[in-house]
């Protein structure tokens, strides 16, 4: 059973989507480790190490995502999580910005996939499955 770490990064308390993501991924048969809201980068990384997770799914709703996510990939690598798949989604920047640009910014930070606002978790289950199947084909450094 594949393990996915989920949580809401930074000073962000938006809990509803997080609870739904936990519920949905669990019913899909994944082992979900939820670090909850107000999670630090370390919370994500420690949970991923402990649970031997293949994927970290970061939510950021409140707009500070850009500040909060910087350096996560580097810290993962330092912690030896050199194959971990990183997703980010929610409302990850402040305001309505051109998504193409936003995506570039987060890809440059080392995320594997970046999702625009209103992407329901149900609609990305296929991608998650596929990416997990291909886990390990890439190392990130």
């Amino acid at each position: 059973m594949n393990t996915i770490v989920i949580g809401v990064i930074g000073a962000d308390v938006h809990a509803v989507g997080n609870k739904i993501i936990e519920y949905t991924l669990t019913s899909q048969g994944y082992n979900v480790v939820n670090v909850g809201v107000l999670a630090t980068q370390e919370d994500f990384i420690n949970a991923a190490i402990e649970s031997d997770a293949k994927m970290i799914l970061v939510s950021s709703l409140y707009g500070h995502g850009e500040i909060d996510c910087r350096g996560l990939r580097e810290k993962c690598i330092e912690a030896g999580l050199d194959k971990i798949i990183l997703y980010v989604g929610g409302n990850i920047v402040v305001g309505k910005q051109d998504f193409k640009e936003v995506e570039q910014r987060f890809l440059a930070m080392g995320f594997n996939r970046v999702f625009p606002p209103m992407t329901k978790i149900e609609s990305v289950l296929d991608i998650i499955k596929k990416d997990l199947e291909e886990y390990g084909k890439n190392t990130f450094d």
Partner: protein
């Protein structure tokens, strides 16, 4: 120190104050001298005083319009405020950024710098503590309507000091409503104490003839919160505030979506708050109401969002809320531009103005729902008072601990998190799973039977699925997350 609902003595207040003011550099501003602040506040004209303006609107039966807005760069924030006033906002907000809410002033400082460097907002609000009294006064002085801080800060003591001394005549929040939906690890005992202080500060000014307004945050998590639960918390916070000497309280409620339930909620909110304030001996508090336009997930399409906003405004106006907090067509996307914010204001204000001479007619259905909300509140309040052995402050702590009161989807670990709400067949919010909620059996039976009716109608089962479908429903254009909609 044990928590109880007692007015802070002047000594206690001043002692805490000293600590608070020394907790961050902007706290040492001489403008925070209480005598100076009193002097400044005495010069606030009526039309810029939230307590005065709301009280007047309440008496005239009008519904005022207030947006949410805040941006990190001072100059731009002032422009924003002026723009929104121009757009028709009767009352102005200043939404505070999320680092400030967690008292992370250092990160807020970085956010200001980064925002200035990149010339785009990297904070989701205005970091008022970092800016200090003088800058906050610049905001106050630039506008001609009352201004209020809106945030979500469990420990807002320094923030409260700064904004009030700057002429901001209202502060949103409360020890429960700004903890349970906004924090994970902060103890309720602490946050209530912090807010007793904020209320005491308002009481201090009140004793010197300056009436400031306080507003418990009604919608809580904004997600399928049954009216009796949010009302009960609003009532408790109103009592806590009144105990510290607050005389102008605006209790709030977030739209649930069934029009009759919403109007019943608005009416009972005022009735029951006044009733309990009286019972607790507070007979000279002005109670007004605030209706929050739909607080859950919004539709993506901007025209649909405008539809939702205006429909919300219709309910606020017919229900005679004293003010409504407006949303914007960008709600589902992100912090709005000032133009998007203007559109929400203009549409809402137009509807409020159009309907100002009308009311939702009295009907059996309305009275039935009002009665239902009232007995639920009484059941919860009885249990809370009992749990605190008469002390409402320790009562609410005990009630949260045991789940007598429980807020759906709250992140706080001080909330039991066992109840699950779901809509009934007409879209009224009811409860599916009660946990330890302080409802008597009759009330529980009522909720179950109403949801059962829906479950039968949709030929599905009683489960969390109902809740999940209902959470998504509005953003997808339905109120009820019907099974066949999927």
């Amino acid at each position: 120190m044990k928590l109880n609902n007692k007015k802070l003595s002047m000594d206690e207040f001043l002692k805490i104050r000293k600590e608070i003011l020394s907790s961050y550099i902007t706290g040492s501003d001489p403008l925070l001298d209480l005598d100076q602040a009193v002097e400044y506040l005495k010069n606030v004209p009526n039309h810029k005083n939230m307590a005065y303006v709301l009280n007047k609107a309440g008496q005239e039966g009008r519904t005022l319009v207030q947006p949410r807005a805040g941006t990190p760069i001072l100059k731009e924030h002032i422009e924003l405020m002026k723009y929104l006033e121009q757009a028709g906002a009767d009352l102005l907000p200043t939404t505070i950024d999320s680092y400030t809410r967690q008292n992370r002033y250092k990160e807020a400082e970085d956010g200001i710098k980064e925002s200035e460097r990149l010339n785009r907002a990297l904070l989701n609000g205005f970091p008022a503590v970092n800016y200090g009294v003088e800058n906050c006064r610049k905001v106050y002085e630039a506008i001609n309507v009352p201004i209020q801080a809106r945030h979500g800060t469990p420990d807002a003591r320094l923030l409260a000091e700064i904004i009030h001394a700057a002429g901001w005549t209202s502060n949103e929040g409360g020890g429960i409503s700004y903890n349970i939906p906004y924090a994970k690890n902060i103890s309720l005992v602490d946050s209530i104490k912090y807010w007793q202080y904020c209320d005491r500060l308002v009481g201090y000014y009140q004793e010197r003839g300056i009436t400031l307004n306080r507003e418990p945050f009604g919608p809580l998590t904004g997600t399928l919160v049954p009216p009796s639960i949010s009302h009960t918390i609003a009532i408790v916070e109103a009592i806590l505030a009144a105990t510290q000497g607050v005389k102008s309280i605006t209790v709030g409620y977030g739209q649930c979506g069934n029009v009759t339930q919403d109007i019943a909620a608005l009416k009972t909110l005022k009735i029951k708050t006044e009733e309990y304030l009286h019972r607790f001996g507070f007979k000279d508090v002005d109670v007004t109401t605030v209706f929050h336009q739909w607080m859950g997930g919004f539709p993506n399409n901007e025209a649909e969002a405008m539809g939702l906003i205006s429909m919300s405004a219709t309910v606020a106006a017919l229900g005679k809320a004293t003010k409504m907090i407006t949303k914007t067509p960008y709600e589902s996307i992100g912090i709005p531009t000032k133009e998007a914010n203007e559109r929400g204001i203009k549409a809402s204000k137009f509807v409020a103005s159009l309907l100002k001479d009308q009311q939702f007619p009295h009907s059996e259905e309305l009275f039935r729902e009002m009665h239902q909300i009232e007995i639920e509140i009484d059941s919860l309040m009885d249990n809370i008072i009992k749990a605190g052995k008469g002390d409402i402050a320790s009562g609410i702590i005990e009630a949260f601990k045991s789940g007598i009161i429980d807020v759906p989807f709250a992140p706080s670990k001080y909330n039991l998190g066992k109840i699950l709400p779901a809509r009934d067949n007409q879209g009224y919010i009811r409860i599916l799973e009660f946990g330890n909620l302080g409802f008597n059996d009759e009330i529980k039976e009522f909720h179950k039977s109403r949801i059962q009716e829906r479950v039968d109608y949709e030929k599905r089962t009683f489960s969390f699925d109902l809740t999940v479908d209902d959470i998504y429903a509005v953003s997808m254009g339905s109120l009820i997350g019907r099974k066949q909609n999927k």
